[in-house]
């Protein structure tokens, strides 16, 4: 079986490598670091922009609850009546003039801060939760074990990790082994100190010493560069949104309620360190990040409860509106705005780890040959697709985070590109040649490659239109949610309760 036929990931129209400019791995590392810093800044910007409609949606719910809380306190000590002052017009609201845009700006400025604060708190909470579980707990729950002392290859692996630790000037991380025939290796943990390198038995059998050392160099380089923290931050971002979606859907959806209860139980109980706990923590992590997609979304069946059901339905309506609006914004803006830079950041960290591996081993061929071997389908470790971004390479896309969360852009860079970059660092391993193009289709695609700048220029008005559509979508959904909140939540629930409580306070005192 030739390399071409056995390598399904060879890009159909990848350019055949010609002369490639050499660069030193220090230069490559510096370049990748700069790129990843810029992309991280872009990511942060995208997340902040994403946060604006999301916090605005959550705002009214908080204000309503705050008003009611103040009314309850008012029964004991006098508190200012904000609703009265709002209708009087004497609340200190900012004002930017009379245009519609100024009106929108005021609404956002007033409604967004409590929601933003809440999002921030939930984010810190999920990060704390994740820190306990550590990134990649799934591999521990799959049954990673310590290396056997008598086995020569496993002892050699421990020595390899120690050698790479010395080359990197860091204490060597723990080594764990996965008894599976899949050929792959990953890093797990939350930082260099408590990180571990997980290697599959299949990898030890399939790769020789140099190639294994290249892989370990990549993993230790990746740990040393702080990629584990970045992975955790990425995941906690999606999980924050998942927690909020679960909370918003609890009033009307049983699946949301069970998810929320499971999370609450997990957060509050004392956790042990056994594999069952690791499995549970991994399940909760996964559930939060990807499970609230709407795939098993159900709504309570209220018809059978008669008039009580109708009241429940009306009470849950603002939460339903907020939920849909939140979910649509999170999906749409998240996919188009946040996930491309996120994928780019992670890819540049992979390239950085490759260059660090070359620095540590001074042997680009080892890693290159290992990557070539890892481009086959048997590099997919079963049931670990969800943590695919923590592995050295991952040829497929099914079941990975790419599939569920990061809609545009791949988290793992293609093997071809990595081999090209390693070639620039001095390796002699060529990426496999692309398969011959089908009749007629090859040439057009090749020509298109050269026309890329022109394509961007022609597409820019379309891109602007699309950005306009995104903004319009955000405005529309947020507007609908606010309208429904205003009508049902405030109108039917908060305001009557508010007057009731104030009347009670006046008549009691």
């Amino acid at each position: 079986m030739s390399i071409v036929e056995s390598n399904p990931s060879a890009g159909t129209y990848a350019r055949v490598p010609g002369p490639i400019d050499r660069e030193s791995f220090f230069a490559a590392q510096a370049r990748n670091r700069r790129t990843s810093w810029r992309l991280t800044a872009l990511c942060v910007l995208a997340v902040l922009i994403l946060g604006i409609p999301l916090s605005t949606i959550l705002g009214p719910l908080f204000y309503g609850l705050a008003v009611l809380a103040m009314d309850v306190v008012n029964l004991f000590t006098p508190t200012p009546d904000l609703v009265h002052r709002f209708f009087e017009g004497s609340l200190p609201l900012p004002s930017f003039g009379d245009s519609a845009f100024a009106g929108y700006a005021v609404i956002v400025l007033v409604l967004a801060p409590p929601g933003a604060l809440f999002l921030l708190l939930v984010w810190l909470g999920t990060r704390g939760l994740l820190l306990r579980a550590g990134a990649g707990g799934i591999l521990l729950s799959l049954g990673a074990r310590e290396p056997k002392r008598g086995d020569l290859e496993e002892t050699q692996l421990v020595n390899l990790v120690a050698e790479m630790g010395i080359a990197a000037g860091v204490p060597p991380p723990r080594v764990l082994l996965l008894d599976t025939r899949a050929v792959n290796a990953a890093v797990v943990g939350s930082s260099l100190e408590d990180g571990a390198v997980v290697v599959s038995r299949g990898l030890l059998d399939a790769l020789d010493r140099d190639e294994t050392q290249g892989v370990i160099g990549h993993l230790i380089g990746s740990m040393g560069n702080g990629d584990l923290r970045i992975a955790m931050t990425m995941l906690s971002l999606y999980q924050t949104l998942g927690v909020i979606v679960a909370a918003l859907s609890s009033p009307f959806s049983p699946s949301g309620r069970t998810a929320f209860q499971r999370l609450a139980r997990f957060a509050l109980q004392k956790r042990g360190a056994g594999p069952a706990d690791a499995a549970e923590s991994e399940a909760v992590t996964q559930l939060l990040a990807t499970g609230l997609d709407g795939e098993d979304f159900e709504v309570d069946d209220l018809e059978k409860e008669g008039w009580k059901g109708s009241i429940k339905g009306i009470a849950a309506l603002p939460f339903l509106a907020a939920y849909f609006s939140f979910w649509i914004n999170q999906k749409v803006l998240g996919s188009f705005l946040v996930s491309p830079p996120l994928a780019l950041v992670w890819r540049s960290r992979r390239y950085l780890a490759d260059a660090t591996a070359v620095q540590l081993t001074r042997n680009p061929d080892g890693l290159a040959r290992a990557l070539l071997r890892l481009s086959r389908p048997d590099a997919e470790v079963p049931k670990a697709a969800w943590a695919s971004h923590l592995f050295v390479a991952w040829p497929g896309k099914k079941g990975t985070l790419d599939d569920k969360l990061v809609m545009f852009g791949k988290l793992q860079p293609g093997i071809d590109r990595r081999l090209r970059r390693l070639k620039a660092l001095g390796s002699t391993v060529s990426p496999p040649p692309p398969p011959p193009p089908r009749r007629g289709k090859g040439r057009k695609a090749q020509e298109f490659q050269g026309m890329k700048p022109l394509a961007w220029v022609l597409a820019s008005p379309l891109i602007l239109c699309f950005a306009g559509v995104l903004i319009g979508n955000a405005l529309a959904t947020v507007g609908v949610s606010l309208a429904i909140d205003g009508l049902f939540f405030f109108g039917l629930f908060v305001i009557p309760l508010h007057f009731l409580l104030r009347y009670l306070a006046q008549s009691v005192l």
Partner: protein, 184 residues
Amino acid sequence: MALWILIAAVVLVLLWMIAVYNGLVGKRNQVRNAWSQIDVQLKRRHDLIPNLVSTVKGYMQHERQVLEQVTEARQRAVAAGGNVVARAAAEGELTRAVGSLFAVAEAYPQLRADRNVLALQEELSSTENKIAFARQFYNDSVMEMNTARESFPANLIAGPLGFQPATSFEIADPAERAVPQVQL
């Protein structure tokens, strides 16, 4: 007004000097740590060699000369102690002697089947690699230190602050650069 600007400028320059000083201190300590790491691995090799010699002695009755060479080279390396030049020469001798021993051991098939010998061989070759990697890390640290020290504008104050340039680990003895001869 001008006085405040002057004071602010002086404070900024002081802060920059502190940052440069701390950075150089960190790098210098890394260089020192890397140097002592080399020592750690060399010592580990000293400790492994008697084990190896006693394990293979039973099989290689006729190779007493090679075994003696290894034992003597090890004793010389341990005795060289702190004298860097003599130590480097002795360690080089030891590397060559151990290499000869492994080459000779290829001719003894019973040795390859002995698990203890295989494990010991793996340990020794791993220790050789660790020595090499420790030197590589030392040289990388030296490069970082010297680059930080010599870049503008840090080079203006590095000298007065007491940071000397570090020297890379290079092979002092030109004979070591020659391909080692294996005496069979």
